[in-house]
Subunit: 402 residues, 4 copies
């Protein structure tokens, strides 16, 4: 196993074999997480990077070598069937999530599935049902809302859960990118509804909705929305010169919602916000304080303590690199910041801990389903003149109390 | 005229007598504008601070002395009737705007009216009609959207008008304050519908809506909204111990809208956003670039030029203190920033220039009416499950082309 | 007295007549202070803007009208001699400060003198001696280190005086501008030693040194320095085509020093720092906390409380616009920021309060002299290979204890 | 070799065996670099993590397992002697650098040595001489100034080298930490001169000096300095209760210097700047533009283009995550930031590239020696009343032309 980059830190640690499907951007990021997690954290289970799967035999072999997987497969069913694979990590487009995840769970494997959980509520419901059945057999499923694992946002969650913000009034999240500003950008699969499900909504909005519910510790109960596709036709990749095709997903969405407690939630997601590369901005206002965060400065959390003397109050820039901050005691001395990819290392850590403890990972498929229901309500509202559409309440287990 | 703080810079400059009604926060700010404008700018008309009006005789006399007005009146009709008053500056609550403004225009006076123009669309329509009639007689009316006169936002408007941003995709404005976080804050007149018309919506939202339309150079055509009153009862000022009364206006509003060109607009206004004191934030994204602004750092405009080499592109912090920036050649050397109150000095300057030139001030009452129509549509949408409500198109003159 | 812009708020308030010499940038800024102070603050003395003085009769008359002075003089001795002048405000180049200030004090007038106090230590000593004699007769002298009156820096001083920072370790101040980057900028008087005394050192360094000593509440005891003139010849204004002359002052200076307590102080001043317009940045580090400030964002003070829980500690952005902040209760509601010129209004306020109370203004000429001694030591060090040069201890009254 | 985390991406790539000495903070960071570099970059040489060395047998074995080294050694001479070690990576305290590095080079190994290169100029000269001899035999030596590999600083260097800043006027660097604020922090080895050589000076100042010379593309020619030890006695680790011992290194240093071109350089380093965790701040001002950087926001470079229209000029925040930025094409899509540890991955990349190409790594030991000479001049100046001390000119090869 010359490429095994994830052998146990001590021989006594049990091994958990990982099989990953898909090896593009997300696959590379997940690989970095699996390779690194055991080098940094003390783990109850040692991940072994058993096999990676993709359709092109030569490309998947090259990816295995590059990314550190011991073997390569070209059929995802074969990957699931491998004895050395205990956990299936799904990094494929959303249209394939349900089929793969359900098959893996039914084959007795743990599952980590990239977000959004699925392209439809029906698929997500089937996945959540499969996860419930698997849990009864000691197999667990997690959905990959990796931004929860940014230390600053994990600290934010800790602070809201501790009541440092009091009763929430506002949650506002914008997630802005700009790679679709140019009309010359081609009609990639992410711009086709049949594969991607939706556009900025599913890609960016899923993160935004998950974070809002996670930070608030409560679900959205209703949403109103507008969506827009500003550039409606784009060049077909590999098409004849000048051939264009229709864009069938949204470029941007505006969403306003209500959380169960009555707090107002606002969301804006876009792929045409010139100059904003990966600008996920979060602010939460409560009766005792406020928090704000910007992914472009991901090692910072800004906290206003509204109970402080007004003459000295203000948003303080907490440099989230202290030992007492989430995940940080495993890393570098105070002041030495982390990057985007660390969220995947932390995600791997949290999943391995949950599996070893025999408890549900957080977020599980129920939470992924709840996000999917919000996205569906968003699309319904956008189709019905922005009228407020209720979101069905999640089952009790879906959003933990804190 | 011992208190005349606004005598002409040169004896040859014609004098324009000013009469102001109301002398609280807005009255003090307008007074600072009238006192200062002739000391800083070369003016075609020299404002003379003739008289100020308020109901309490002693208090208004004291205010006249403090603020620099030559005389005091206790009846606004008497103020309007004064021969030495050529322009009536209305700084009273919104419920009185229509009656005063119409009377002043009919008496042949110019009018400057604080925002929001009125508490209802019907009032605003009557005011706009009065302004149209007065214009035919060479008398002009302006509504006091002073933030347009922040040099950074004036520069932003210049840049959007010049096409530096290309086709607009997004306008997003949030205007957040926190003075109503505490439930102990009393039930002031601003929290009663009959006087204030609305809450954060009319107070903060009016600015936000005006700026969006002004920066974009086009009107909103439809809006969807939620509003909320989080603290529904508050102590009655001067009431018996423990006496509380109902808050009848909104604490916060979420609004999403469309501009005539199809661009998306989002607004959030709140008086319960802990830690945000006067946080008016504006961002505009277009196909060629983006602008952003924060009133808490009002001497800065951030500009991203999307046509630049990506390796060197980014939001640049323009310190808006150069001679070539709007209003700045009259002030200090580059680098020496201005403050909030300067917007009123600039407003006075622009109004005097328009009157001297015999042209419509910008924004006139038609634009104030258009904002009022948007606010009414917001309230209708909020009352009807956030359904998108169309905003009637303004008359051609209301929103200038650029 | 049609131009009297500064009549008493109440008739009972005694009047203090002001006479100002010089009406360029500083004169305009001081005028704005005198015009405004009585409109905003409750004052024990009402300033009356009696006369302004300049050499060109037509220009000084125009300036009087523009800036709001009742009369104009062309001879500063005549201005001092006026019965309606009780206080002489000196806004001329440094080479004339000593002669004017001493004459005014000897004539029984109060004096406000722009910084730097003088061009040489000898002049400053004579001025301080004159101020000592005048004080015995109830006449007071202040030097115009206006930045102390920025509310954020006044708050900083309050916090250091209260011990919120503990024992100081570091004071670092940089003051950077860029108007001399271009070699085409002409050889103005500010670039000639005989008039300006020094370059960035006296202009910017005087502020920096004063602030360091003021914030620390203790004097500098020794300094080491380098100075440089990067562009050594510049076009002579009004000279023949191509005529150039030697620049005889510094473009920039680096200074390191010691405060009496042993804390380290570092200074950097420059007029050739491209992109920095008026960037006065201050940071103070102590054993209990730190403060930082940037004049380009002058309504903010950043405070780190080192006694806080590290998990929640960080520099907090105090928006210095609260009623409880220095000077702010006289101005606008929280969140509405001030600008550069307000420092002159506050300076006028503090001076009038001191005169009415019969106490020394702060900073008085002794403190101006102390700054001058530091600047002289800087020049000596720069001339002697940067060797550390001691600064003579000020007389006990020069730097107040707190 | 079950722990080999660094096998070649393709079997044809030649392997370079790495042996590392020391496995604390720096060793962990270097390990992360060696583990990751081949997973992200296309490499001409595949690093194999052959062995790690430390004195404690059990601890070094555990570290080998944790960090991914195939074998463990307890004698650095044995590590150097291993056939499977081609490159020796020295992560020990400065006092041992010279002996190890010279032995490794003489044994025909390549060397990567942590900074500062040595504790004395004499040691550094011997090391540079050893490196010169080794180069003649095709063996290369690099000193680990890893911050050069921060993408934003690499971009800064590219821009200064391209002349985007014109002639430099100022380089200012501060590097502030606060872990020594508390007098209870123990007397660790880093606070003893015999092991650490110096304090903040060698630890932080070495980085600052290297970056100044690197960004400017020219050496410092003279320096003036003050140093200070504020807390002169600290608890002895493992000592009897209350036992204290003397701190023999500096807590902080102020340095001013000259670059060969005449530009002014200023430096401030401290371990007692409360609230600053790892605040390395860099600013460079030239006649055509300026750059600024803050390690606490390491994915950003701020650039002011002084040739732009002043009405639109300002420091632009370049988010250094584009494909066209240094190192970034190997990582994530635009907008997804990196962290501190990536500098070590980039350092490994650059070193492997140089070795494969048979060219000198940058920075080589000559540059490490030049930094050492500057630090020695700093200490001399501090001991001699801050007098300006010349720095001997480096040999021509030491500082590349650009």
């Amino acid at each position: 196993m010359p490429n095994d980059t994830s052998a146990p830190a001590t021989p006594a640690t049990p091994v958990l074999g990982i099989g990953m499907i898909g090896y593009a951007f997300m696959g590379a990021a997940h690989s970095q997480g699996w390779r690194t997690v055991g080098r940094v954290f003390d783990l109850p289970l040692a991940p072994a990077m058993a096999a990676v799967c993709g359709r092109d035999p030569a490309a998947v072999r090259a990816a295995a070598g590059r990314l550190g997987w011991a073997a390569a497969e070209t059929d995802w069913r074969a990957l699931i069937a491998r004895d050395d694979v205990d956990l299936v990590d799904i990094c494929t487009p959303g249209s394939s999530h349900a089929e793969i995840a359900i098959a893996a769970l039914e084959a007795g494997k743990h599952v980590l599935c990239e977000k959004p959980l699925a392209n439809t509520v029906a698929e997500a419901e089937a996945m959540a049902e499969a996860a419930r059945r698997a849990r009864a057999r000691g197999r667990f499923a997690m959905v990959g809302f990796n931004y929860r694992r940014t230390p600053a946002l994990a600290l934010a969650r800790r602070m809201t859960a501790e009541g440092r913000l009091g009763v929430l009034r506002h949650v506002r999240i914008s997630y802005l990118q700009d790679w679709l500003v140019s009309p010359d950008f081609p009609l990639a699969w992410r711009l086709r509804r049949e594969q991607a499900g939706s556009g900025a909504l599913g890609d960016l909005g899923a993160h935004a909705v998950d974070l809002a519910q996670h930070l608030a510790g409560e679900p959205l109960t209703a949403v109103s929305a507008q969506t827009e596709t500003f550039v409606r036709e784009r060049p077909v990749p590999g098409g004849s010169p000048g051939e264009i095709g229709p864009v069938t997903v949204d470029d941007a969405a505006l969403i306003s919602g209500r959380l169960a407690s009555g707090a107002l939630a606002s969301f804006e997601v876009s792929r045409v916000a010139a100059g904003r590369k990966n600008a996920l901005r979060v602010e939460v206002n409560g009766t005792l304080g406020s928090l704000s965060f910007d992914l472009e400065r991901l090692n910072e959390l800004h906290f206003h303590d509204h109970t402080a003397d007004p003459a000295e109050a203000g948003f303080r820039r907490i440099h989230v690199t202290e030992d007492s901050h989430p995940y940080l005691s495993a890393w570098w001395p105070a002041g030495h910041g982390l990057g985007y990819e660390h969220t995947f290392t932390h995600q791997a850590h949290d999943l391995l801990q949950a599996i070893a403890a025999g408890t549900d990972p957080d977020p599980g498929f129920e939470e992924g389903l709840q996000v999917q229901r919000v996205l569906a309500a968003v699309e319904q509202s956008a189709a019905e003149n922005s009228v407020l559409v209720p979101v069905p309440a999640p089952q009790p287990a879906a959003v933990p109390a804190g």
